[in-house]
Amino acid sequence: MAKVIMLIAALIFSGQLQAEILVIVNAQNSVSALEKKQVMDLFMGRASAFPNGQSAETLDLKTGTPLRAHFYKILTGKNEAQVDAYWATLIFAGRMSPPKQLVDEQTLIAEVARNTEAIAYVTRQALPKNVKIVTELPSHE
């Protein structure tokens, strides 16, 4: 129940704030643009490398972050709990690990700026120059 209320509140809050989600990579990354599906394959563990063969490391926000729920909803059409269950299945099977979770967007941006293999998502905002946008996800599906 609390979760539902929180989710509704998050959605109302994010109206203007999270108008668009930006998928970002290190500026040195040779990948210039990614399809939504390619983003999904990376984040859902299907692909462990960029289409050009360069290995990728997905970065995620902490569970319960409104942006995270929004991101996955737009990306997979599933809610956060479903996505977590999906990962739980894979983790249980072994050898698979979900994207590494970081505390907030700034930490994410900092990590992407530092790690050339990293890929993460943030709300539309001003970004440092060693970070580039590969996909813009519309706020509505």
Binding site: K78, Y86, T89, L90, A93, M96
Partner: protein, 536 residues
């Protein structure tokens, strides 16, 4: 035996019908149950696949072999699945148990779609179902169904059998057995249990009882009737056996059917057994006048009325002729033809007394010739039998000459002797069929039946006169010649009736007397001058 067989028949019929139903329904239900069970198992496999579809889809999506392996291993834990595999990107990422190649079976598979995109097919999950097991289970299930059904049918059949036996066969057998022991007429009746009072068995028993009652009544009536008939028969037999009249039954052709003792006594025949009567014509053997008897039999059959006659019968002990009065009446038809009943009784005595009476009435006691009455009736009869223009005959009236003198001289004995002698002579001189009569006193009458010609008559008359030339010994040592006057009249020439013929013969005789006696004369119509009564 039949009492048993009814029950056996019913039992066999019910058993056969039950067996048939059981076989048929078992076959049908086995098939259905088998198919249903098989389909159920297949659906179970399908459901099993659907259960793991999501996980398998994830495994296929991310190409996770561990997850895939977990899924297929899990699937094969089910005993209806012997092998499973997950194919993603045309590569087997998880496989466990037997493959379809070594199980040589159809696979059951579902396609796996991307968890986040239903449109994208990421792989396929396929299983090898444990068909032998499924089939075995289906068979077991079907067999159980069929056996249950058969048992049910058997129980129902048994129940039906028991009920039929209890409610129908047993009461029927009981009725049948009771009826078997009942002899119509012993007064016994069938009793029926209260349960069956209203139903068909009760009705049957009631009807049988009614029938028994009717039969008994009829038997009783029959018995009484028979008794009466026996009584009657005894009486009639008594009449038949003890009758002094001979009673006999003959067929049209004269063969004997039966006869009473009196018949055999009368006829002198030995009693012959019925079978031996054969074709023997008893009529011909019994009756002297058997042609007459046979014609009487035919007559009675044709006219359908009794006919009787006095007949002579043969008697074998003595040669004396016996007379019987015999009545023949038609006695109805039998298979062998019409029969005639005959009744005969002995009339010999009567016949002989009648004959004697007639003799007494017709004979002259002295001479043994016919007397006046006999002569007159013979003349009448002759004229009636011979109409005018038919037969001719002559009448001679004879009167002895000098008879009165002899009578007066020598006495009546001498006169009688003369009369007897003359009578014998006359009788000897004419034919047997001619009538010779003594009218009374010394007057005789002759009727010459077959003499129509004058010459013949004359010759006879002369012969008669000539015969009188012989003297008669009227007393020892006394011989006398007796002459006679003969008057002759001819029929129909001298008269067409008895009276006139006699009268004219009388006239002719009177003329002879007048003209000198011992002669004969024919009637001459010209001699009519004499009074008719002169001679009387």
């Amino acid at each position: 035996m039949n009492i048993q067989s009814l029950h056996i028949k019913v039992s066999l019929s019910v058993a056969a019908a039950a067996l048939f139903v059981v076989l048929l329904s078992s076959q049908f239900f086995y098939q259905r149950s088998y198919e249903k069970s098989f389909a159920d198992s297949e659906r179970s496999v399908q459901q099993l696949l659907e259960t793991v579809q999501a996980t398998a889809a994830i495994a296929a999506y991310v190409g996770n072999r561990e997850l895939a392996q977990q899924v297929v291993t899990g699937l094969t834990q089910n005993d209806i699945v012997v092998g499973a595999k997950i194919v993603a990107n045309k590569e087997i990422i998880g496989q466990h148990g037997r493959t379809n190649a070594d199980a040589k079976q159809q696979l059951i598979s579902i396609s796996l779609n991307a968890p986040f995109d239903e449109k994208e097919k990421v792989g396929e999950l396929a299983v090898v179902p444990n068909f032998p097991l499924i089939a075995l289970r289906a068979r077991d299930s079907a067999m159980a169904t069929a056996i249950g059904l058969a048992a049910q049918a058997a129980v129902v059949a048994l129940l039906v059998l028991i009920l039929v036996y209890w409610m129908m066969t047993r009461p029927l057998s009981y009725l049948s057995g009771r009826l078997h022991r009942i002899t119509p007429g012993d007064g016994n009746r069938l009793d029926v249990a209260g349960v069956h009072r209203g139903d068909e068995i009760g009705l049957l028993a009631g009807d049988i009882n009614a029938l028994l009652h009717t039969v008994e009544t009829m038997l009783e009536e029959e018995r009484q009737l028979r008794h009466r008939v026996e009584l009657l028969e005894t009486r009639f037999r008594g009449i038949f056996e003890d009758s002094s009249a001979g009673i006999f039954l003959v067929r049209e052709r004269g063969t004997l059917v039966t006869a009473n003792p009196a018949f055999f006594h009368l006829t002198g025949l030995t009693e012959i057994p019925q079978s031996a009567t054969g074709d023997d014509n008893i009529i011909a053997r019994v009756f002297l006048d058997h042609e007459q008897a046979s014609s009487l039999i035919k007559l009675s059959l044709i006219s359908k009325r009794p006919h009787s006659a006095d007949l002579r019968i043969r008697t074998e002990q003595d040669n004396q002729v016996r007379w019987v009065h015999c009545i023949f009446s038609p006695a109805g038809n039998t298979q062998q033809g019409a029969t005639v009943e005959g009744v005969m009784y002995d009339v010999t005595q009567r016949k002989y007394s009648e004959e004697r009476i007639r003799e007494l009435a017709e004979k002259d006691s002295l001479t043994g010739l016919s007397n006046r009455q006999a002569a007159e009736s013979a003349l009448e009869e002759l004229i009636q039998q011979a109409p005018v223009g038919g037969k001719e005959f002559a009448v001679m009236l004879i009167d002895l000459d000098r008879f009165k003198t002899i009578n007066d001289t020598y006495g009546h004995d001498a006169g009688d002797k003369v009369l007897v002698t003359i009578a014998a002579r006359l009788r000897k001189l004419v034919r047997d069929s001619d009538v010779v009569a003594r009218l009374g006193g010394d007057e005789f009458l002759l009727i010459l039946n077959h003499a129509g010609k004058i010459d013949t008559i004359k010759r006879i008359a002369q012969k008669i006169l000539d015969a009188q030339q012989a003297p008669i010994e009227i007393q020892p040592g006394v011989l006398e010649k007796i002459g006679m006057s003969i008057g002759i009249a001819l029929y129909p020439e001298h008269g067409d009736n008895a009276l006139s013929v006699r009268k004219h013969a009388d006239q002719a005789m009177y003329i002879v007397k007048r003209q000198g006696k011992n002669n004969y004369a024919f009637y001459d119509p010209s001699d009519n001058d004499l009074p008719l009564t002169a001679n009387n």
